[in-house]
Every structure is written in structure tokens, then in C-alpha cells.
Symmetry: C2
Subunit: 146 residues, 2 copies
DNA sequence: TAGTGCGGTTTCCAAAAGAAACTATAGCTT
DNA sequence: AAGCTATAGTTTCTTTTGGAAACCGCACTA
């Protein structure tokens, strides 16, 4: 039951889904953990989603992914590039054009991300309504129920 | 062109997908942005995924989501609870049992997350192989190509 | 000669995450 | 009765990360 990539969780517990991969993000030491973080991280998810519609240049990306700083965008892109999800292509030395595109694996995860994002956006009405209730109940006495 | 929930991105640009919702995570001011962060955040994604198979108690969750601290797990759960994605249910005063479950919206996003996680795990072989190349090329001279 | 846009890196400070200790409850053990 | 266990957190402190702004080199433009 050891010998695997860093999976630590108890797989004999049927609660855990059985992947066909030896990777398990629930395990702290599994290399898939940091990769998932790059993909789902605060900016990684938006960057990947923004790259879905073809090549985008650095400053375009900055404008699309509203609010990201240059430093963090550069970091995010480096990480995703090293993971093989995005491709950096320098087009010309002047006016210094660099295009970022999704690799095939990048397209796969970006597609899933897009679905997730769409789902989240679709849940927003419910979320906002719920928060109203939640906050007013909390104000009324959060230890009071049951 | 204004009047919307905080969307700032230029929707006339056909590059942007057209949701049927007025929410746009790419906009810094859109309320969906923090919600996406709760869901895709470092721990939020794992917590939601871990809750997919029925109710889980606090310390079980801590064990499953390997590496999370108590403080951050509590924070994460609070945020997800306030968003209406997870439900906190106190079962007994002694031995103080608290169960966390997914709400229906929570199940929807957790399902998408699970797909994403599965996709990431499935990409790991490719990722690890790519990194080897990438790192050795970078060592050989990262400004050398083209 | 100064200004522009591009693609970043560097610096510095604020915000967030992590580790460890602490709280409270209340049964069970000795 | 004293102390141990387990539950579910909160508090405190340190380390890591994120963000704003400035800076860089390049090469064209006014």
C-alpha cells in the first residue's frame, strides 16, 4: 500500500474514488497537489480560462484578467508554462511580441475550468440570496439555532 | 453598458464567451470573483471534493484534506458555508459532533471540481515529463532558443 | 531628446497562510 | 477527584505569499 507517488490517504476506505492514476491530490506529498494549485489558484484559473480563445499577449492578458499584477501574472504564466499547460512564443524582437497559447493538456484542463466557472456564475443568484439570510441570522444570534 | 453587476470587461469583444448570467469572473468587481476564489482556492477545492461522498466531520476532513491547518480549514468552511455551498450541522452537544455536507449548489460545483481534479491527475504524466525537458533546457540556456 | 508601448524584474509593504498553543465541553480511566 | 481522551474550534506568532509601484531595456515616434 505504499510505494506510490506520495499518496497517503487510505484508499481502502471506499469513500475515496478510485482513479486509474497513481496520483492523489488529497495527499500532501503527491506531485499533483502543486499542479492543481497552479491550475485552480486565484489567477491560474482565470489565466487558463482567458487563453481558451486563442493566443493572447502578455498585456492583453493583464487587461482581460482584471486585477492581476504584472509580477503575479508573470509568476503564474511561468508555473503554467513549466507544467506544460501554456506555451510561450516570442514572435518578434521588435515590437517585442510574446504570445501565450494553451497546449493540448492545457486545453483539457481549461475546458473543465470553464465548466466550473460557468457553474459558479450560474450559482451566483443562489449564493447572494443565501448570504443575505445567513448574515441576518448570524446577526440575530449565531449560537441560537437548534 | 454599465448597470451590470460589476462586469467591466469588454463584452463586445467576441473573444469573450457569452454567459446567460450577468456575472463575469473576469471583472475585478464582480461578486462572482470572490466566490470563485472560495471554490478554486488552495483548500476550497479539496474541501468541496472531499465532501462529495456524504457528510464529513471536522477532524475527518482535516485528515482527508492532508496538510490543511485547523485555522484555515475553519476559515474555508465558514466561507463556503456563507456562500451556501456547504451545510454545517451540529449533531450532538456531546461528544460534540459537527457534520459538514454539500448543499445542492455545492454538489453542482463539486461535481465540476471533481472533473477538473480528475483531469489534472490524468495530465500528471505529461506534466512531469514536460517539466524534465523544460528544466534541462532552461539549465542549458533559457535565452538561447529562437 | 523626451515620450510611447511592449514584456517583464525588482523593491517594498500589506495580507494571508501555517504551526503551535490554548479554550471549552464532558465523558472515561485510574 | 485528578487527569486523560476526544470533539471543534480560536488565538497568537512567524513565515510565506500577494499586490502596488517603480524600474529596466528595447526600439520606434514626435
Amino acid at each position: 500500500m505504499s510505494g506510490s507517488i506520495g499518496r497517503v490517504a487510505d484508499k481502502s476506505d471506499p469513500v475515496y474514488k478510485a482513479d486509474d492514476t497513481p496520483f492523489d491530490v488529497f495527499s500532501r506529498t503527491c506531485p499533483s497537489r502543486p499542479v492543481l494549485e497552479h491550475v485552480t489558484g486565484r489567477w491560474g484559473s482565470l489565466v487558463l480560462a482567458a487563453l481558451q480563445n486563442g493566443p493572447v499577449r502578455f498585456n492583453d492578458l493583464r487587461r482581460r484578467v482584471d486585477g492581476v499584477s504584472q509580477k503575479v501574472l508573470a509568476q503564474t504564466l511561468h508555473a503554467l508554462e513549466r507544467d506544460g499547460f501554456v506555451n510561450r512564443h516570442q514572435l518578434s524582437v521588435f515590437p517585442l511580441r510574446v504570445e501565450y497559447t494553451l497546449t493540448p493538456p492545457g486545453q483539457d484542463v481549461a475546458a473543465k475550468l470553464l465548466e466550473l466557472i460557468t457553474q459558479v456564475e450560474a450559482s451566483m443568484d443562489s449564493v447572494l440570496a443565501f448570504r443575505q439570510d445567513y448574515d441576518s441570522n448570524a446577526a440575530a444570534g449565531h449560537t441560537a439555532r437548534a
